[in-house]
Symmetry: C2
Subunit: 454 residues, 2 copies
Amino acid sequence: MLEKALGYAHENQDRFLTELKEVLTIPSISTDPDHNPDMQRVAEWLASQLRSFGMNNVQIMPTGGHPVVYGEWMGAGKSAPTVMIYGHYDVQPPDPLELWTTPPFEPSVRGDNLYARGAADMKGPVLASLKAVEAVMKSGKMPVNIKWLIEGEEEIGSDHLGDFIKNHKELLACDFCLNPDAGIPNADQPSISTGLRGLAYFELRVYGPAKDLHSGLFGGTVHNPAQALIELIAGMHDKNGKVMLPGFYDKVRRISKKEHQNFLRSPLNKKSVLEMTGAPTLWGEPQFLPAERIGGRPTLEVNGLLSGFTGSGSKTVLPAWAMAKISCRLVPDQTPEETIRQMKKYLKEKAPKDIKWELQYLHGAGPALVSEENVGVKAMSKAMESVWGKPLLFQREGGSIGIVVQLQKYLKVDSVLTGFALDDSDVHSPNEKLHLPTFYRGIDALIHFFYNLK
Amino acid sequence: MLEKALGYAHENQDRFLTELKEVLTIPSISTDPDHNPDMQRVAEWLASQLRSFGMNNVQIMPTGGHPVVYGEWMGAGKSAPTVMIYGHYDVQPPDPLELWTTPPFEPSVRGDNLYARGAADMKGPVLASLKAVEAVMKSGKMPVNIKWLIEGEEEIGSDHLGDFIKNHKELLACDFCLNPDAGIPNADQPSISTGLRGLAYFELRVYGPAKDLHSGLFGGTVHNPAQALIELIAGMHDKNGKVMLPGFYDKVRRISKKEHQNFLRSPLNKKSVLEMTGAPTLWGEPQFLPAERIGGRPTLEVNGLLSGFTGSGSKTVLPAWAMAKISCRLVPDQTPEETIRQMKKYLKEKAPKDIKWELQYLHGAGPALVSEENVGVKAMSKAMESVWGKPLLFQREGGSIGIVVQLQKYLKVDSVLTGFALDDSDVHSPNEKLHLPTFYRGIDALIHFFYNLK
């Protein structure tokens, strides 16, 4: 049956690619309300896919935001494990548009890669899961029970997913979750993530004069809010790059010797990070490996800045306000709630009296760790090693996946974190791409995975 | 003849207002190439005005940028003084549009004020000059020779005006320049500016990774260019607000006792500046009066900031670049050339090796001082005291007017700096307004001025 399912997957590769391209043409940008109809379209497309290979109870279920696509197949019986397959159908905004070689929502194959917004993050991995289940279902009996949870708000913080899970504990009950949103380092290195960073994302606004002023007529008498914002943010790091929010490192867990050994094996080293980022040199805490700075250490980043006149040419304005998007990546045992308190405390202590400030917490998630002994982790590890023919790497990742924390919290289950996006897939960047050979290997590995769970 | 000319001006006030509204409907935004046809329309409108009351040799003269409107009347003879009347027909961009009560290019009278972009800066003052000359010409013989120089690039730094003056020294030869672009503090306080600050305007760009990155996947290993830009700009002031560019204060002239006395009389005090700006409290060098900080001390201001994701919601991007618009206001004897060197030196010394930076000097002008004994200053001072019925104030202003420096340099003439915009006219801001009673008083004062020069 394994061979039959793999054969089915291989014979249908062209159709799988066509279907993937189809769903990638829909600009399901969750952060932009103008795209709400596109969110609905993708949800319906997915529901129809699930029905096409025999899933039951397929529903587009409302949440406080974008809907969740649910489906299940419970035919393996009570003694078989139940695997929840997680995915998200929303994508990041594609801007800056001018840097895309081909338009973000017109999927284009060049060489081994398929270029489109969402190709790697994560419509490609969602399709791989759908197609692996389809291949097993069409080739005999699926050895495990399956539940699908495909959300539409991952890129905006999965704000409504916690409530959704809490309100549907019975429907969603499972033994563990398969989450292919974590990616692997490169096409030759299968991996499973046993750690994720958390996130706390803020918008900080500083207000000065009541309106934009002429910088000649008033400059020198009024604290420029852009200047004040800059002073506040500059003080959030010391000169060695240490984050200065009060108590920021208090709960940060030390990296263990075993973890350090895994980090040493990581393909994320000075050379590869320089290649992937194109940065002139590396930066960050010198006492930690690049992989440790990404997977095991917290950060504070400026994600956006806006104030005053930003067009071409010059305008001598003293702006009325300035804005920054700032986010912290968190590691065990930090929490977003504590980070919010630390940020507020910092601002209360440091903000000068001659401006007003306003902090908005936009979203966040806690960090997560998963055991290498989890039954799903073991089945997936074996599956990937079979397909790739080489040892798997256990990684602690730099990204944040809110669902992992919510599933631990509400359903008491861990997640098998892997995926088929690569570190150079340019997720969240222009020219996002999916490496097609890895996509097809991913389908094979998932087919192995289901049979390994028998 | 004075009375006749004043009578003519009073009888025609309604028509003057209609004509002013007409020219204010043309969005002559010099910084935006899309508005080039509007620049041409205003120039033609002004040329037709000049011809309508007997100016000769009226021409729209090309420059490297937007054209200059020229006209002359030399009928007063060689023994009479020749007054050049300066103006500019370009305006600042009107954004943010949503803060305007009525659209910026649909002039609207509310109470004593006419609201429109350019109403105060400076189509109103240009109209006042045109109408004062018209009134004198239509009421007898103009006692002085007149030359008009109305440019279209003041709001973008008058970059081509220096060359234009250098190339037309004979045509533009005059005894002094009347420049009504400086404004007066409020409707009850006639004033002449005897000092202006200079300007050096920069765009600073910082480049880090080759593309926008996912802040989770790479955050902690790459110097965030928004963070690097912030660190560079934060270091441009010390904690007391002192500008830290190397040598910035070396050439700053001390404020004399007599100047300090004038500054003490200035209506720019703590209370009025707080009222006009709406700032929570004042800021700046505590050892100087607010009027001194504006008129007698140099500054460094952030005029604009842009980096990464600035839309609503959140995007976890580690941006590839960050940009700031930064300008310095200069006082005697600073020069833009030295400021450029100081800025470059600062950046070379302070910029970290893990980013690249690029500094663009966009434009600038030197600071200027004018003697209270200048013949034009004396004639205008007497004229304003007659119309307002109170003593005039000599002021050193915070703004920058490039033409004043260029006329000193190329034609060796000083400028009579006054005007009819008020400190609360919101020039460069939304809801820019012209105080109409001051506009009409201005026409009267200019009529007096011409007869005072006989």
